[in-house]
């Protein structure tokens, strides 16, 4: 068994999650915001796999959860990009600050 403690893997995934959050807060471009969300989803995946490996090596549930998250992330990215392309067609821009018609 390797000597890296579980907490260090969790530190990596936490840092990754908050980097993604920072990106989501500062970016105003829809594509880059989508990228930040992908980073956050990936940090969750790391957690699932790490917990499964270190705490419950006789089960596989963590792996399945990360598999399903990857699948759903793919579907989500596809839909998001379809929306972005459509927004670009109507507004000639994919900046969130430019699409404000529905803003109350």
């Amino acid at each position: 068994m390797n000597e890296v403690p579980l907490t260090h893997i969790l530190f990596v995934s936490t840092a990754l999650f908050f980097i993604g959050m920072y990106g989501l807060f500062t970016r105003r471009n829809l594509i880059t915001m989508l990228m930040s969300i992908e980073l956050m989803l990936n940090s969750v995946n790391i957690n699932f796999v790490a917990f499964n490996k270190y705490l419950f090596p006789d089960k596989l549930d963590g792996l399945f959860f990360s598999l399903f998250i990857i699948t759903i992330a793919a579907a989500e990215a596809a839909v998001a990009i379809a929306i972005i392309i459509n927004l670009y067609r109507s507004h000639q821009s994919i900046d969130v600050d430019d699409a404000t018609e529905m803003k109350f």
């Binding site: 907490t7 969790l10 980097i19 500062t26 992908e38 995946n45 379809a82």
Partner: protein
């Protein structure tokens, strides 16, 4: 410090460094490439954890699928050589502070909890084990979520096509009639 630990810290540095560059660079295509490196780093982390199947899936779906999709949408909506506007300094500072606070808070939590009940059993699932359990109908089987996810993918596919399809003359006329 043996080879395995050194490799882990190298991978972790790659993941976090590429991720920071991905969210801070002002050139959008470079941002996508840094995201790609970060995702490849995560796949490498899975290889390091000896879950090769998840690592391969990670590369197929994220790198071969999602990043290529993102790059395509960049090609379709952006101009080569342009830079994005710099975010406002106040916003950057507050976001960085919020992120740092969140990181510190969670680090603290993890450190205090400690995770002492680590099992020493080896974890090396084979692909057929994963496949058998994924499609089994017994107590730990995942057949229902598997089927539900397939429905979700179908719905997402149909939805994407409907959203991104250019409206034809006929539908525009039809919609105008409805509004009248």
């Amino acid at each position: 410090m043996n080879t395995s630990t050194i490799i882990f810290y190298a991978i972790a540095a790659l993941i976090l460094g590429a991720a920071i560059l991905a969210v801070t660079t002002l050139k959008i295509f470079r941002s996508a490439i840094w995201l790609l490196f970060s995702l490849v780093g995560i796949a490498a982390l899975y290889f390091w954890m000896q879950v090769e199947f998840i690592a391969a899936i990670q590369i197929v779906v994220y790198v071969g699928g999602i990043v290529v999709l993102i790059i395509f949408s960049i090609f379709l909506t952006q101009q080569s050589g342009k830079e994005m506007a710099k975010p406002a300094t106040s916003k950057m500072i507050f976001s960085a502070l919020a992120a740092l606070f969140g990181t510190g808070f969670t680090f603290n939590l993890i450190n205090h909890y400690g995770f002492n009940n680590i099992s020493a059993a080896p974890f090396n699932p084979s692909v057929d084990e994963i496949g058998m359990q994924m499609l089994s109908t017994t107590s730990h089987g995942f057949i229902l979520p598997f089927e539900v996810v397939s429905m979700l993918l179908l719905a997402a596919m149909v939805g994407c096509i409907v959203i991104a399809m250019k409206p034809t003359e006929a539908t525009i006329v039809h919609l105008n009639k409805k509004e009248d």
